[in-house]
Structure formats: C-alpha cells, structure tokens
C-alpha cells in the first residue's frame, strides 16, 4: 500500500472527513451535503478496483467514531451505497454530469432513508422531512465535486 495513488485518494477522503466535521452556522446545518459519501461515490465510479466496499466500510467506521453515531450505522449505509455505484459504474459513467447528479440524488435518498431506519431501530428517533435536505444539496454539489476530483485525478495521474 505504499504507492502514491492510494495515499492521494486517502488524502481526499481525509479532507472530506474534516469538512464533514466542521460545524456550519446553525441555520445552515440541515443543508450540509454528505461530503464523505459524495467523494467515496466519485472514487468508486472512477476507480472501482481501488475504492470499493472495503474502503467504504472502514471510512464509515471512522465517520461513526468522528460523528458520534452508534458504531456500525455509517459503515452499513456507506457499504450499501458504494455497492450500488461500484456494481453499475460502467452505466453511470456514460451519463452526462447533470444526469449523474439526478442518479446521485436517488442514491443519497436511499442512503438517508436507510440511515434513518437504522438509527430509529437503535436510538428511537422520529422522522422529519427536513432530514432529506442533504439529498438536494448533495446532488447539486455533485457537479462541482465531480469536476474538482476529476481534475485532481488527472493532474496527479491517479490510476
């Protein structure tokens, strides 16, 4: 694992984790997109043999520890979402970026509903429609993240 490709991917995931932890003003907090999941999805589409379910599981566990949710919630939901993108990467790559963002909205909705269901089972929370705002903001920022990470990948020739 000493090759630089892996370290550069891990660096981008590290930046996403830090971005997920920085608190936004309270009014903007419900609209924060899920940076870590979006970046994992990009890497699983671009390099599915490098970033796969194992990476998603470990990053999900780190996210659980960092955010304080019950252990295993994020690793389960990330693994399922990355399974969907990694098994269909050829089809998703062929769409244009705005069409991809619609698909990403669908995957994010699945992720949020799954996460709510598991959290409801573990810590008895109730559903509010406001929990689904990150689906909209996440799919809007997908265009930006895709272009940014593609430039990053091509510049460093990560393969």
């Amino acid at each position: 694992m000493m090759n630089r490709h892996y370290w550069l991917i891990l660096l981008s995931i590290f930046v996403a984790l830090v971005a997920a932890l920085i608190p936004l003003p309270r009014a903007l907090q419900p609209f924060q997109p899920d940076w870590v999941l979006l970046i994992l999805m990009y890497w699983s589409l671009a390099l599915p043999h490098r970033v796969n379910i194992g990476t998603a599981w470990v990053v999900g566990l780190l996210m659980d520890l960092a955010i304080g949710s019950p252990l295993g919630v994020h690793s389960l939901t990330y693994s399922v979402s990355i399974y969907i993108t990694a098994s269909n990467y050829q089809k998703i790559r062929n769409y244009s970026v705005p069409q991809q963002s619609l698909l990403i909205a669908l995957f994010l909705a699945l992720y949020h509903l799954l996460q709510f269901w598991v959290s409801h089972f573990l810590i008895d929370i109730y559903f509010l429609p406001q929990y689904l705002w990150p689906v909209l903001t996440g799919s809007l920022s997908w265009v930006w993240i895709f272009l940014l990470l593609r430039k990053y990948r091509r510049h460093f020739r990560i393969r």
Binding site: V18, P23, H49, N52, G60, L65, Y83, S87, I123, Y126
Partner: protein
Amino acid sequence: MNLLFGRNASLQLRLIIAVVLSGLIMLGDRYTSGASTIRTSLNTFVSPLFYFANMPSEFLNWSSQNLDSRELLLAENASLKEKQLLQNAKLQEFNFLQSENLKLRALLNSSAKLDNKKLVTKILSIHSNSYNQQVVINKGFLDNVVEGLAVVDDLGVVGKVVQVGSSTSRVLLMTDNTHAIPVRVLRNNIKTVVEGSGKLNQVELPHVPHSKDIRMGDILVTSGLGEVFPEGLPVATVTNIERDEGKPFAKVYAQPIAQLDRIRLLVLLWSQQAEVISNDE
C-alpha cells in the same frame, strides 16, 4: 487501468460480509459494554480529524481576540475583577456554611459530603450526529476523565460524559432522547425524572400522575438519587403542564436552566461521598 469486465460476483460477497460485520458491531455497541473500550482505543485514530476540524474556529477566535481594542480589553478586565471580588466575598460565607454543615453532620453521625473534584473543559467546534445531541470536549482519559461524569456550566446541569478518548470525550446533553436525570421539585421535594425530548430547549417529565403537585414555574434540581449527578444542581424550570383527564398521565414540559445553545466552557464534576468518623466512636 480500466478493467473491461466488472468483478461483480466478489462485490456481492463483499457487501454481505460488510452488512454482517456492521450488524454485529451495531448490536455489540448497543447491547454490550465492551464496545466502549473499543471506541476509546479507536478514538485515537480520529483525534487528528478533531484537531483539524477545530482549527478554523480556533483561528477565528484567536484573531478576533487579538484585534480587540485596548479600551475593550481594559473594560472587560475591570468588570471581571469586580465580579471575582463579589464572588470571593460570597465564597467566604459558603466556606463558613460548609464547615458548620460538616460539624452538624458529625453530630448526627451521618456521612459527610466532600468537596466535589472539578475540571474545566472547553467545547471543540465539531459537528456531531444530527440525530443526537452531543458535544465534544477537549479532555480525555489522560486527564482522568471517566464515563458517567456530571457536566455543568455556570448556570446549571448540561449533561454527562458518555465516551472517553485519549484527549477528547463526548458529552451527552440532557435534551437528548436517551438522557434521563432524577430530580426533585425545589418547592415541595417531590421526586420525579426529567427526560430529554430531542429539542434543544425543552425537556419533558414522563409518567406524571394527575395528582402530583407540580406547578408552572417550579424549579427542578437534581436529587442525587442516580449516583451520577451530585445533589442540588439546578436542572430546569417547568414551563407547560397539560392535564387531560382522559389520558393516564399529565404532560409536563420544562426548559433547561443552562443555555444549551450557547455553551462554551464546561465543568466536569466527580461526585464523592465519604464517611466521617464521629467523636465518640
């Protein structure tokens, strides 16, 4: 390197393994206590994340402090000195009352209450799970923090410590769904329990029978019964009571006395009890 054929079979196997492992970890975290030791040891991996995530707000605080005008700092200094002088005067009264209390308890042959050990801690600016109400503080087991410590701010009770890392810990706020604290009403010593409801400024009292004498404006303080919170700390004020005779219990809502959306510095309290050897034994 683009593969021509996707490796779909092993993906499903990996998904099944990932789901099973996640399920085991979830059940282990919820139903066993061994998970807290695992979390403590794994927290060392996440502390660099906390350090980096806290840096922007630390930098903003530092720069705003350094850019304060000199007059502002002098005025703040003077008001703090005055406040400290008044509090020191009150503390002299408190010391006298405490020694009198100790002597009276010895006369009655009951156990004395020692001074609680305290530790001041700062909240790190870290976003926590939106389904929980938690904050992260900057002291860990290297500072002798253990799970279950009471956490207060200068106005009242804030919550308790739930997870401990090496240099950071998590505090569960009392407004969280899963937090409950035994209290008594200051006016007439009725014992009840305050549970969080998930909303930042409201807690509720479950299972209050219609006949219980609780009124609006009642102050609730800790009763010390759960052995987590020391006795007598202010918790909440009752704001709303709905007595519907058709329902088995009344609904009582209260507002926490500590301002939970504005906390910056917190105090951790260790609650201790000690026996006092009385004079004639």
